[in-house]
Symmetry: C2
Subunit: 233 residues, 2 copies
DNA sequence: AAACTCACTCGCACAGTGTGCGAGTTTTGT
DNA sequence: ACAAAACTCGCACACTGTGCGAGTGAGTTT
């Protein structure tokens, strides 16, 4: 374990000098664009500099290092998540809309999936979402730490459902894999793991994207039901 | 989108030549060791070669590229997950033990958290776990695709709960952050996001590790309750 | 007007990365 | 003994993040 000292953009002076109205947001915006186009590996300081018509190392005036830049872009995706007001639509509806929104955002920004396991979500946008979720679950009737447990449970489910989906999408983007070979491999697998066979047969009649969406909905009502049951005690 | 052709170690000839009983497993084992010691960034082909007393590029005889090596080590962690027999202990108990086992394995191999979002779990160990889970949920009473949805829901919850926990651990390993500064920042946050305040106050009286473990249990019973409810319809 | 300060830019260099290539070495098969 | 196959590895290439220190240009002070 490298004795790394914990540091985060968010745990520092509220602002850098940033006197000219110019650049940090611009950098983050360009970085997000680059990430959307080329993925996490496609983001390098040199490319980002070039995209902004700047030298590679100029960016280091606005950002301490690449990790800090990643913290900033990570919070940016939290900013895209929509949390409806539970007072207006009820907590279950609010939670459901939020869940689909979070899933959508991650699928649209696959690189964010990698960041979830690397950075804690401490930025203002993430805190805003957390705050709204807390309000939502309190409105549902949760109290004390149970409220936070409910938040963790729901976001956990959403992330855990979506992150592997990203992994799957990244490989099967336009699959070059021989379909016949794939099929025969599946058969071979089915022999060694007999319980999987039925699942394979059922799943291959549907569009995988649809299957995953249905699975998400199935899981979501389960989780919400489970949370609702906690309220009864 | 780079038109990457999908390829996986698992979708290829069942075996490389591998005539001498010697090396591929050994490489994977050493890689896992290196990963446990130094994390995902600490694994480089050169270091791995050195650890094995071999030249850096010698490994490429046994492994097509680094990604393939990662697929192999990824499946290795699936091999550490324990799935009890649902016929003996009942599906709820089996699911619960499995969940805690998966959480433990990921916390013990934090680098695996990054791989979940990058690679689909297609290795033999992963398939074995999936197979056992399918058996477990069928024993519970699920049928058809619902069985697969239940699997996705449970593993989704487990991963989604644990992956951010890994992120948090990686920063707060031995936190060098000024506690007073942290405190004052939290107060500032609490002003902007009032609903968070109660959560902060409650949480800071407990050991964060314990809080997260409790949250996991809370979420787990919720998810299992929710799944059980699906059986009623 | 001259001097100074300070926000900002960026080229160079260093240590490190994955990996293709092709020339070597060892082991195996006949 | 000879050939073929299995295996090793040094070199080179293009790339990475980033510390350093010299440069630029606008604004402020004297």
């Amino acid at each position: 374990m490298t004795g790394k000292t914990f540091s985060s953009v968010w745990l520092r002076e509220p602002r850098k000098p940033t006197s000219p109205g110019r650049s940090r947001e611009e950098i983050v915006r360009a970085a997000v664009e680059l990430l959307n186009e080329e993925g996490l590996d496609g983001l390098s300081m040199r490319k980002l500099g070039a995209k902004l018509g700047a030298g590679a190392t100029s960016l280091y005036w606005y950002v301490a290092n690449k990790d800090e830049l990643l913290e900033l872009v990570y919070d940016e995706v939290w900013g895209e998540m929509r949390v409806p007001d539970a007072d207006e639509v009820g907590w279950r509806e609010a939670a459901s809309v939020l869940a689909h929104s979070m899933r959508r955002v991650i699928l649209d920004h696959p690189w964010a999936a990698d960041l979830i396991g690397r950075l804690p979500a401490l930025g203002p946008n993430a805190l805003h979402v957390a705050n709204e979720m807390r309000k939502m679950f309190k409105q549902a009737g949760f109290t004390g730490l149970d409220t936070d447990y409910a938040i963790a449970t729901l976001t956990g489910f959403i992330f855990g459902m979506t992150i592997p989906e990203v992994a799957w999408n990244s490989t099967s983007g336009h699959e070059q894999v021989d379909l016949g070979e794939m099929r025969s491999l599946l058969l071979q697998v089915a022999r060694r793991f007999p319980h999987m066979r039925e699942g394979f047969e059922l799943a291959e009649m549907e569009d995988p994207r649809v299957v995953r969406a249905v699975a998400f909905d199935f899981g979501l009502v389960s989780v919400l039901d489970g949370l609702e049951r906690r309220l009864a005690t």
